[in-house]
Symmetry: C2
Subunit: 199 residues, 2 copies
């Protein structure tokens, strides 16, 4: 497929097949994209940060790491990553997080609202939205456990590629929160490549 | 109420009212207890590690911190804590985690299985079990993101007290995994106190 664009502060839902590779590109740099993945055959199976941290034995996920489901199955494998800095600790920004963190700013439905709308046609209800795998999101943790949301370290054209380990419903956004994106809202690009032919 | 005992490698489910204080005690020391909390009026609302990390701005939760729900409501407030070392990164141990981490040992249903059985009467299905708040669990994170499961630092009689911020269904275990509990399986004690009278 050609490269598709997710407009600033919006989101999309689509299906990919086992073995296909999803590439998510930060075209301008310093833009976060929240990624969700559900088992296309049963959307009650979904990515889980806790299962992933447990099996991968790290919170710093990059090439070679897998994203696991709540049912302990691998859903995605990171096969390429030009950034190496993502977040799987925090939940998608939402109306409630805008009211909490940006009381002076207009409320936005955020990634949570965008994902809920994009995934509703697949039978995903809002309460079935867990922590997203937040691509390019930069959340340093201090030695005392305190966390910060810094601007992404991704530059223009940086990308991450994830191979589907089962047929998946994907939710993907161009993130809407101020701190996560260095204060401005940019698009996200993505494409889906067929699995490489066996040698 | 008097102090109740959770037998080693088992779990319980029970209801507490808004304002009541749940005290969870490690009677012998070095024993983890996985805690889940659901809105008693609608069990689709449940504790969320991501929302909690976001609003509390830390992964090191102790006295004064709140445990937030997937709907951005505070569910529990930590009002006392003699340990100060808990985990909210990892999911409950399960048959799958036993097969993964302890292939030489008999498979156990783990905290996940114990919670699923204990919470089924309240309408909680296994897929509705998220990351638990793992009391006394000791998960250091290195500066490169790698995590380890160490023995708890809790000693005999150490405890944590959590005030309910809404009517809650609680799931609570004496954890079943080897590494989490220093290699041996001990009981957990708990009680529920009425809210203090207004002055």
């Amino acid at each position: 497929m050609t490269v598709a664009e997710i407009l600033p502060r919006s989101g999309v839902g689509f299906q990919i097949q086992q073995g296909q590779v999803l590439r998510v590109i930060d075209p301008e740099g310093a833009q976060v994209s929240d990624l969700l993945a559900y088992n296309a055959a049963d959307v009650r199976e979904v990515i889980s940060n806790g299962r992933t941290f447990d099996y991968e034995e790290t919170i710093a996920l990059t090439t070679g790491n897998r994203i696991w489901s709540n049912r302990s199955n691998p859903m995605l494998t990171i096969v390429e990553d030009t950034v190496g800095r993502h977040d799987f600790l925090l939940t998608p920004c939402s109306e409630a997080t805008f009211r909490h963190f940006y009381p002076e700013q207009p409320v936005h439905r955020g990634c949570f609202g965008n994902l809920a709308v994009a995934l509703a046609p697949y039978g995903v209800e809002p309460d079935m939205i867990p922590c997203a795998f937040n691509l390019f999101m930069n959340v340093p943790i201090a030695s005392n456990g305190r966390l910060r949301v810094d601007s992404p370290v991704s530059g223009p054209g940086d990308y991450i590629c994830l191979r589907a380990e089962m047929d998946l419903i994907i939710g993907l956004t161009a993130c809407s929160a101020y701190a996560s994106n260095g204060g401005s809202f940019k698009p996200i690009h993505y494409d889906v490549a067929e699995a490489p032919m066996p040698a």
